[in-house]
Amino acid sequence: MRLAGFFALAAGVIALPVLFPNNYFVIVVGIAAGLHVILAVGLNLLMGYAGQISLGHAAFFGIGAYASAILTTRYAWPALLALAAGLVVAGVIAWLLARPILRLRGHYLAMATLGFGVIAHVIMVQATHWTGGPDGLTGIPPLNFLGWSVNNDLHGYGVVAAAMLLAIWLSLNIVDSRVGRALRALRGSEFAAQMLGIDTSRAKTQVFVASALFAAFAGSLFAHQQGFVSPDSFNLTVSVELVTMVVLGGLASTYGAACGAIALTLLHQGLVVFEDYEMLIHGALLMAVMIFLPQGLFVGLSQAARWAWRTARGMTP
């Protein structure tokens, strides 16, 4: 029962490409949305549950992507091994960063993570020898599972969808575990959490590392899916977009984060037709959601659905 929503989502994800085969908006946009969901769900663990902000999350996304890109193109590593290496690198960096950075709170934490994101971006641009500089690296081979190569968009959709479901399932389980409860206590009041016997700095480090791993995982998939990486996929704007997804969807809800990620991805694709007015409409919609659905899109929409359900039931005799 606890996972009813999860199974409904899984069914939807599988049904979409069956109902609309070879549809750009399902397959290609679906891949982008799926990667965003992994990133947002991971960031939500840190922001929504533990109450810590990160304005540099695109850096971990980039670390995963560049690890895969560099290891597969320059050293001819198998893709899965490169993915694992990306996870290790991102995890170690996050662990090293977590202790000093997570001592900070509020604006100071925001500043520190922002600085980290900017530094990572500068390295991607300047370390031309490794990263290929501003134009990035091309020729990244597709993912390969024991000879089955993910070389078209439909296969890519399958892999990203599976990864996304895995990420959501992991997140749901983390949240419902002892660690998850500790995190929620931490968000409520760090002091009170300590009084309850929670090792808060350990809990914060764990969630920061977990969040970074989600992002690096998405990064590796992204690199193999696109076949190229360049620094502008991992700049400050992307970090801010990720925060927007989490807040828009609804903090402290895994489905909320997923909902925000999907909504923002679709919004961008849909608004392209307005050309010059795209940004204006984009901004206005975000403002409207925050004003009228302050708890986020997911809570707002499910409340609306419940209300509609009740009125519909009330009308029929």
Binding site: P134, D135, S230, S233
Partner: protein
């Protein structure tokens, strides 16, 4: 009664669909440009040019009676967006040809997808890597950074200058240009005595230039676009450095002269003939093409830039190829683009071949000098 009304509406709708299907199907030209973002000063004139040229062609009856339809997306200079939009153009909009790719990053990112789908793609960006090694479906119409480097070195040799200081930004254009300059220098008899870099958003480059001042450089080369080169130009004058300054073709627009003001006096750069069209001799075959494009563009939108010219060249090469191929069959059009010979565009005269998917030579660049706020051809 109500039922009848619905039937009539349905019948009318069906009739409309039928008549639409019976009409001539347009040839779809797809484009992805960086109309907003840091490269907007490139992408914006490109989009306007494409719209203007497509309207012009349709007013004349299209290609073999089929009108052109332009479908374009704005990448904001983000390569990830570029790839997704190219997929959208190919899979969703089912375009017949793609003319676009404002920046080298955008163009390079979409090449694997274009090759896989087998659709002719004419890039408007500069990097040599786009067409070297030659890719079956990929062509380009903008001058390369290597040509700019060669043109600058040619002029340096004429003036007998061999020791040069280099200062570049951190953008893709800057870095790629720097690479080509360093690669070409040994064979051109040029030695770099300084190699400084700055961030493209920096507002002051005097520290780097002070270092250059203390070197024994005989000339300075600054490769970049946007505001930074204008700041470098101003800083050089402020520091009283009295060395010849060379800029790249990235600043060949009126905006640069406006930004750098009096400091721009005497700056030399390789540029497409478009900026000096009226100074060309009447015997030059490019002159009428250039003047026609410029007058048409300026009547509609204001000062012309060489970047819009690339979009014009790209579209016109595509149109000529489709005329020869007698339609929009992708494989035939690709073959015809490759056979483009003696095509007079705004960037120069194009002679493509199976081994050269750009087809411009060094003559396509003119060395120009800024003199009292206007471009002058250096003889």
């Amino acid at each position: 009664m109500k039922d009848n009304q619905w039937k009539i509406i349905l019948a009318a709708a069906l009739l409309m669909i039928a008549s639409l299907a019976g009409a001539v199907e347009p040839i779809k030209v797809g484009s992805f440009l960086s109309v907003t973002g840091p490269a907007s000063f490139l992408g914006d004139p490109e989009l306007r040019t494409l719209q203007m040229a497509v309207d012009g062609i349709n007013a004349k009856g299209g290609i073999k009676g089929r009108p052109l339809e332009l479908i374009h997306y704005d990448t904001g200079g983000n390569a990830r967006e570029a790839l997704n939009f190219v997929k959208r153009l190919i899979q969703n909009d089912k375009v017949d040809i793609i003319v676009g790719g404002t920046t080298s990053g955008d163009s390079l990112a979409v090449i694997p997808e274009v090759e896989k789908a087998g659709i002719p793609f004419i890039s408007l960006a500069g990097a040599v890597d786009i067409v070297e090694p030659v890719k079956k479906w990929v062509f380009k119409v903008a001058h390369t950074d290597r040509m700019a480097a060669a043109k600058i070195f040619e002029d340096l040799r004429k003036r007998g200058l061999t020791k040069v200081a280099l200062i570049t930004g951190d953008g893709g254009f800057d870095k790629s240009g720097r690479e080509q300059l360093l690669k070409l220098a040994p064979t051109s008899g040029i030695t770099f005595v300084a190699d400084e870099s700055y961030g493209n958003k920096d507002t002051d480059m005097t520290p780097q230039l002070t270092k250059i001042r203390s070197s024994d450089a005989q000339a300075i080369i600054n490769f970049g676009f946007g505001q930074a080169p204008a700041i470098v130009t101003k800083n050089i004058k402020q520091l009283g450095i009295n060395l010849p300054l060379y800029q790249s073709h990235g600043v060949a627009s009126k905006t640069f002269i406006d930004l750098a003001g009096a400091a721009a006096e005497g700056v030399r750069l390789p540029a497409a003939a478009l900026v000096v069209a009226e100074q060309l001799p009447d015997s030059d075959p490019q002159k009428p093409v250039l003047l026609a494009y410029r007058n048409q563009y300026e009547a509609k939108y204001g000062p012309v830039s060489t970047f819009g010219g690339h979009a014009y060249d790209g579209l016109m090469i595509a149109v000529a190829a489709m005329e020869r191929a007698d339609g929009a069959d992708k494989a035939k059009v690709r073959d015809e683009i490759e056979k483009t010979r003696g095509f007079i565009g705004t960037a120069g005269v194009f002679n493509m071949s199976p081994t050269d998917h750009m087809g411009l030579n060094l003559d396509a660049f003119k060395m120009v000098e800024i003199h009292h706020g206007v471009w002058k051809i250096v003889e």
